[in-house]
């Protein structure tokens, strides 16, 4: 039955169109992968190979890790990764705590000023962050935060309205019955938040964690403006500075650095692809 149905569906026309679709998809995928693959290949090449051969030639020795050791020894790789991890973990903690608390109060309580607060958030969300950097920079200067990784932390967690929005929308979709009955049984508001609301918000929290981690690991503009020195900055600045210092005959070393920065993302991406994709779809449509 199933077989017959299949056979009926696979008309020659259909086969032709499927072939066309596959061809286009394959072509696009090659275009996506090729630049990455060439960078990867280059990271194993000797200076001579870089100079003489075509970019698409394979390295003679895949075990040549000279570029990797050169990059690791010549650049502050350890400190950049440490800073990146520190910024991500602290910011995620602040965003999660502050965001879920604010969402709890804004969604579950009616109080004077609530509409005004919501309005302020809507206005701020419409203002593109990149336009206010000119004046935000002065604020950060007067707070003494420029050139400190805390600048990144306060901006990634303090100016992040989208996450708060995700929390509010998510909480709005959860029935109030559970927290109302807990209230009747004598739980305090804080207990309700801590024991009921926070655990219920796990899906929204994981969406925010995924979206924000990707953003913080990859962002360039904030590290560039507020932490120009790698000692206080993330992997973005590590690569930016390294590429400034390198010349065409050290290109392969830079490619090794790029592989070092990209590798953790790719590993996480393929390990968690289901969560990332669904988190992205949820977050993006709402944001």
């Amino acid at each position: 039955m199933n077989m017959a149905k299949r056979m009926r569906r696979l008309t020659p026309r259909k086969v032709f169109w499927n072939a066309v679709h596959y061809a286009v998809l394959t072509f696009a995928s090659i275009l996506v992968v090729a630049p990455l693959l060439i960078a990867f290949i280059s990271s194993f090449k000797t200076p001579l190979e870089m100079l003489r051969g075509e970019k698409t030639d394979l390295p003679a020795d895949w075990g040549n890790l000279q570029n990797y050791t050169d990059f690791l020894e010549g650049q502050p790789v350890g400190v950049a990764f440490y800073n990146t991890l520190f910024v991500i973990v602290v910011s995620l903690f602040i965003v999660t705590m502050v965001g879920t608390m604010a969402a709890y109060v804004i969604d579950r309580f009616r109080f004077p000023g609530r509409r005004l607060i919501l309005l302020l958030y809507v206005i701020v969300m419409a203002v593109p962050a990149i336009t206010t950097q000119v004046s935000l920079y002065q604020v950060m200067l007067s707070l003494g935060l420029v050139n400190s990784k805390w600048a990144l932390i306060v901006l990634y967690s303090g100016a992040d309205i989208v996450s708060l929005y995700i929390f509010i929308v998510f909480l709005g979709s959860i029935s109030r019955e559970i927290d109302e009955s807990a209230r009747i049984e004598g739980a305090s508001y804080f207990q309700i938040y801590w024991k009921i609301i926070l655990p219920l918000m796990t899906p929204a929290i994981s969406t925010v964690v995924i979206l924000r981690t990707i953003h913080m690991y990859n962002d360039f503009i904030l590290p560039y403006l507020y932490t120009p020195r790698v000692e206080q900055s993330t992997v973005s600045m590590l690569l930016f500075k390294a590429s400034d210092m390198m010349s065409s005959n050290t290109e392969a070393i830079l490619m090794a650095g790029i592989v070092i920065v990209i590798a953790p993302t790719l590993i996480a991406f393929f390990a968690l692809q289901k969560q990332i994709v669904s988190g992205m779809m949820r977050g993006a449509v709402k944001g």
């Binding site: 998809l25 996506v32 090729a34 630049p35 203002v127 593109p128 779809m281």
Partner: protein, 293 residues
């Protein structure tokens, strides 16, 4: 043991849970926003203690006197055209991947992958890829298109499209994913019914798929418009703005941090902000009229 009355407890929670977020909102969003508008009315250089009020002089200069200042805005047009092509492509990919052909998941992953990669890393990769005798040229030689290689970054006629290509490369997968998400809402039995009725693939798209995803596509066009006004990373990291590839954001930040004309830069930022707000207002008007909420 201290037990607060319900009323006090309620008040404590509301204030306690909101004080930090509201403080952050004020210090890092509202106050800088107010400052930006104020700076744009002064001739401040970013250092000197006094800021002289100059009224709308900065705006006059941008609109009427110094034509060079607005010129980078034209570059947004390239990214806008690019983003429309990108949306068309992303929709096509989303539709065919949604059919569940074997291998769909692999293609979806590959096309989405660039979006999760570090901005600086992919820009440097592209800078090398587009160089003379770089990766792209090598690939073209490999498949027999060696005669068509160009100076992708050095030729001022071509470089803008090269950057648009880099940008499409980076963001296509993201749009693909959003459209794909919207497609999940189309009931599969409608396709089944249409197939039994003998509807062609195009008819299925035109009458079943498109009406469902139209609101999301509209939203994505708005986001693309806003996005093309705010382009920074890709051109800054690949060409540094050389060869006429400077975008308006790059020009604004350059005025502020390099030339130390904070007043002028603030006025440019306010102008950009007004454009973005205008787009958003148009979106609201169109969407509310369309009855999609």
């Amino acid at each position: 043991m201290f037990t607060a009355t319900a009323q006090t407890q309620r008040r404590l929670v509301i204030i306690g849970f909101l004080v930090v977020p509201l403080m952050l909102l004020t210090v890092f969003s509202l106050y800088p926003f107010a400052q930006l508008v104020w700076f744009s009315l002064t001739d401040w250089d970013g250092i000197s203690p006094e800021k002289t009020f100059v009224g709308l002089a900065n705006y006059e200069r941008i609109f009427f006197e110094d034509q060079e200042l607005l010129r980078p805005l034209i570059n947004s047009l390239y990214y806008f055209i690019g983003s429309l092509m990108q949306l068309a492509l992303a929709t096509y990919f989303a539709v065919i991947l949604n059919r569940g052909l074997p291998g769909s998941n692999v293609y979806r992953m590959l096309l989405f992958m660039p979006f999760v990669l570090n901005s600086v890393a992919v820009s440097i990769i592209f800078r090398d890829f587009l160089q003379i005798e770089g990766g792209l040229d090598a690939l073209m030689v490999m498949i027999g298109l060696g005669a068509f290689t160009r100076e992708w970054v050095q030729d001022p006629e071509i470089v803008k499209w090269s950057l648009v290509f880099a940008s499409v490369w980076r963001y296509l997968g993201f749009q693909l994913l959003i459209t794909y998400g919207a497609l999940q809402a189309v009931p599969q039995d409608q396709y089944e019914a249409a197939r039994i009725e003998g509807a062609s693939e195009w008819q299925q798209f035109r009458f079943i798929t498109f009406p469902t995803i139209a609101p999301i596509l509209g939203l994505q066009i708005i986001l693309s418009t806003v996005g093309s006004l705010e382009v920074f990373d890709v051109p800054f990291l690949i060409t540094g703005g050389a060869n006429g590839t400077k975008t308006f954001i790059m020009a604004t930040l350059q005025e502020a941090f390099e030339f130390r004309r904070v007043g002028l830069a603030a006025a440019m930022a306010v102008i950009l902000l007004c454009f973005v707000m205008l787009v958003m207002v148009i979106q609201r008007a169109v969407f509310d009229r369309g009855g999609t909420k």
